[in-house]
Amino acid sequence: MAVYDENILKNPFYQALEKHRPDLCSRVAELHGIILVPCCGSLPAGSFTASQFDGYVLQPAEQGYQTLDGKEVSIDNNQVRLGEGFPNPTSVPILFEETFYNEKEQAYSILCITRPFDADHSPEELSTVSVPYCLKNIEDVREFLGRHAVKLDKFVAAFCHSFKEQERKGLRHQIDSVNTLYTKCLQLLLRDSRLKILARQEIQMTLLKQAVEMYIHHGIHDLLFSYVGSLEASRDAAFNKTTRSLQDLQQKELGVKSEFSINIPRAKRELSQLNSCTSPQQKLLCIRKVVLTIMQSTRHRDAVSIEAMCADDLLLVILYLLIKTEIPNWMANLSYIKNFRFRKSSKDELSYCLTSFEAAVDSPCYIRGSVRIF
C-alpha cells in the first residue's frame, strides 16, 4: 500500500508562509487552528504573495471555520468546502492531516490539500493524487509494466530451472535466492531511461517495486509455494486436527459479539480467495480485506452508543473464521507471507492484520482448553 505523503516542512508554499508570515504561524498555534497547504505537485511556478496566506489559515468559527481574512469554510467528508467570500465556491479534497507542535508545545493542524483554491485542474488530474496507489492483481501489474514485462520472463524462467536443482537446500537459501532475483529484475528495469526518470517520483518507484515483486512471485509461485507447503506440512496437519475438533463451536460459545456476526459470511467469502493469490503481497491484501470486512460498521442510524471493535473482538472473529473456513494450509500461507515479502514494514496496517492472523492461528490450543468455561 502506498498513500500520498510529503514532508510539509519542504513544501514551497509552507516554507514561504513560514518565511514571510511568521505572525500567522504563531497566530494559528495560539488559536489551535488549521493551515491548508496545497500539495507540492500542485503549486504554480513563481513566488507567493504575502497576503494570500491569510486565506489558507483557518480558525474555528460558530459553524465550521473561518479564514483569517474572513471567508467561510467547512470541512467534511475529507473535503475542504469554500463558502461565502470566495469567488468560486468549490471543494478541494484533503490528502492527509498532520498535527504540528511548536516550541511552546502548542498544537495546530496541517491539512495537505490536492491544489490551491484558484487553480483549475481537470478531475482526472485530481484523482491521480487523491486515490491510494496500489496494484491489486496480476492484470494491474501487467498493465503497469507493459512491454517491460517480457524482459523479466528470462530471469524468472532461469530461476525456475535452477530451483528444481536447489530444492533440497534450506529455507534460508531460498529466501536469499528469491531476494536476489527481485534485485536483479528491479535493476534491469531501472536501466531503462524512461523508467528511471519516472522512478524519481517516490510514488512511482513504490509502484514499480510492487509490480516487480508481484510479477516475479506470480511466475515462481507454483514451485515456491509448494516448497513452503512441504516444509509446513506437519504443522498444518496438526493445526487442522485442532480446528477439526472445534468444528461444532458456535459463535456465542467462542465469545463473538452478536453485532459482529453480520459481516462474517462476507468475510468468509473474502478469505476463501486466499489460496488463489499468488504473491505474499496479494495474500496480505486479501487478509487485510477480510479484516476490513469484519470491521465494517454495522450501526443503525438510531443506535445511540456504538461499540468500537478492539483487538479481542477482532481476534475472536478471525479465530471463528479460521475454524470454519476450508483453508488447509494456514501455516504455509503465513510462512510464505512472512518470509517472501520483500518490502516489509513491521509497523503498518498490513503488519497489524498479519499479526492478528498470527495470533489467531496460535490461539486454538488455548481455546480448546478454555471453551467449556463459556
Partner: protein, 223 residues
C-alpha cells in the same frame, strides 16, 4: 513512507488494558478524524495511526491494541514485536484493573527489558468521587518500576494529548529500542520454545515438531 530528504520516524505503541477500562475510547478520542465524521465506514479501535510533527521531527505513530483477555495471555509477545512504547490503562474506580496493569508491567519488563518506554494511565478521572486507586499509590508504583504515570479522562478529553506527545518526544530512546527489543524477545522466546523466535505463544503437543524447520523461525527476527 519517508518523504524526500526528511527522516520520518515510525513509532509503534502497544495498548494494554482490560476491556472495561476505556482504552478504546481513549485512542479513538486521540485519533478521531474530525474531518471525516459523516462517512464513517468502520469504527475500529484496534489499529489507529496519527501523523505528528514535533518541532520539525516527523513521527508516524501507530497504536496497536492487543488481545487482553486472560485466555489469550500467551499471545501478547506476537503483538509486542518491534514496539517502541507501551501504554497500560487502568480505571481509577476499579482496583482490579490496576492490579492487572502491575502484572503486565512485570511481563513487559521481563520480555522487553528496561528500555521500553512504559506509560501507566489512570483513566476515568471524571469519576473522581468513585476513585478506588489513590493518586499516591499509582504514582508511587509507576516511579518504582521506571514508568511514567498519567491521569486521563476520555470523556472530558483530558490528559490524552499530553500522554501521546510525551511518548513521541523521546527520540534517542526510540532509536535504539528496536534492536534491544528484538534481541530480548528473541532470547526470551527461544529459551521458551526451543528456537521458535517468532514470538509465538506456548507450543503444545503435536505442534512441537514445528521447530524442525528452524531457519524459517530465525528469519522472523531479522528486522
Amino acid at each position: 513512507m519517508a518523504a524526500a530528504g526528511g527522516k520520518t520516524y515510525s513509532f509503534k505503541v502497544v495498548l494494554l488494558g482490560e476491556g472495561c477500562v476505556g482504552k478504546t475510547s481513549l485512542v479513538l478520542r486521540y485519533c478521531e478524524n474530525k474531518f471525516n465524521d459523516k462517512h464513517i465506514t468502520t469504527l475500529q479501535a484496534s489499529f489507529l495511526t496519527k501523523k505528528l510533527n514535533i518541532t520539525g521531527k516527523r513521527v508516524n505513530l501507530a497504536i496497536w491494541d492487543t488481545a487482553g483477555q486472560e485466555r489469550f495471555h500467551a499471545l501478547g509477545p506476537i503483538y509486542y514485536r518491534d514496539s517502541n512504547g507501551a501504554i497500560l490503562v487502568y480505571d481509577v474506580t476499579d482496583e482490579d484493573s490496576f492490579q492487572k496493569v502491575k502484572n503486565w508491567v512485570k511481563e513487559l519488563r521481563k520480555m522487553l527489558g528496561n528500555e521500553i518506554c512504559l506509560c501507566i494511565v489512570g483513566n476515568k478521572i471524571d469519576l473522581e468521587k468513585d476513585r478506588h486507586v489513590s493518586v499516591e499509590e499509582a504514582e508511587g508504583y509507576a516511579e518504582s518500576v521506571g514508568a511514567k504515570h498519567y491521569h486521563t479522562s476520555a470523556k472530558l478529553n483530558k490528559g490524552i494529548e499530553e500522554l501521546f506527545l510525551d511518548l513521541c518526544k523521546q527520540p534517542r530512546r526510540f532509536l535504539t529500542l528496536s534492536h534491544t527489543v528484538m534481541r530480548a524477545l528473541y532470547n526470551t522466546t527461544s529459551k521458551r520454545h526451543d528456537g521458535d523466535g517468532s514470538g509465538r505463544g506456548e507450543v503444545k503437543g503435536e505442534r512441537r515438531e514445528s521447530h524442525k524447520h528452524s531457519p524459517e523461525r530465525r528469519t522472523d527476527c531479522r528486522r
